[in-house]
Assembly symmetry: C2
Homo-oligomer: 209 residues x 2
Amino acid sequence: VRISELSERSGVPVATIKYYLREQLLPPGRAVSATQAEYGQAHLRRLRLIRALIGVRGLTVNATRQVLAALSENEADVHQVLGLALGVRPVDGPEQPGPELGTPGTPDADALVARMGWRISPRSPARKVLTQTLQTMRSLGADYDWRSLIPYAELAQQTAVLDLDQLDDCNDPLEQAERAILLTILLEPALLALRRLAQEHESASRHGS
Amino acid sequence: VRISELSERSGVPVATIKYYLREQLLPPGRAVSATQAEYGQAHLRRLRLIRALIGVRGLTVNATRQVLAALSENEADVHQVLGLALGVRPVDGPEQPGPELGTPGTPDADALVARMGWRISPRSPARKVLTQTLQTMRSLGADYDWRSLIPYAELAQQTAVLDLDQLDDCNDPLEQAERAILLTILLEPALLALRRLAQEHESASRHGS
């Protein structure tokens, strides 16, 4: 399809699509004349992904370009692409530089990962987030160590099974990775909202009139 | 204790404590002379709470003052205080004004809450977050409605039971509310990190070598 129809189908203005093309977030279409190009289903999907990363979750253009580049380079290996998708954006938490490969520094998270029997990259930014959260809880006087998180980790495991089940009916690894990013990043606020709602209900059941 | 010891025990500099006193985040100590005041256990706990809200999760001084005022006014009713604690800060999500009481506008969330049998304030900001997430998923072409979230809601309910269990051994309602805020707000990044770790592990189990 032409750029105008791509705009219509995606809901993204033509000027914005041209900007994404210039910034190389979107690969060029197939040239059909000196001034026109044809775009396909892959462009539409890619546009949705860009909108989710930039528009909905506030990534910068540069960060988005890195994610997309990583996706293209690793098409062959589903797990590799999913890993990149999941590591895309450090979860919100205390400011912190990414941990270096091989440095210790996340003993709490390492202990929890080992206990759960999880196979996790040593470079996953999530390790640092866990360790820092526990440090913060302790600095605030709470009696908290990695064992306190085991029941939460077990529920997280069940959540991840739900997540991955939703990718199983999709065979194209690139599309699968794109879906994984959407699912991971877009659902996060909703999962926190569900926890708050459930807390309110649970509190009402225990203490309410 | 004197302000210097309060500073030592809390790790908050004296100048910062004085700032919190001026801003009425911290109630005044008991005056023992024209220039000195005594502070107690309640001040220490309150200081930790302020540090968590401002320092760790980035609330403004104004927002923090509102939370603390709401806590003090509702001491008598445990569930009321917990409700305030949980509603303190809208979860991260698309920008949105708080829903008006009685307006419709969150049909997705309302349907989910009804199906779960949850007792939830109609004004909970979490309703709006859920509805907007579902709208975003659909606008990106995902086949998603409130029923898709039922399994996630069931896991959220189990998470909330874990959360509330941790408040049960505490009888002072104000302290309970303070703990609820810490637990709700501080654990959020850790819970998202756990989900990412579990996703990586689940992906490795299904697709990895």
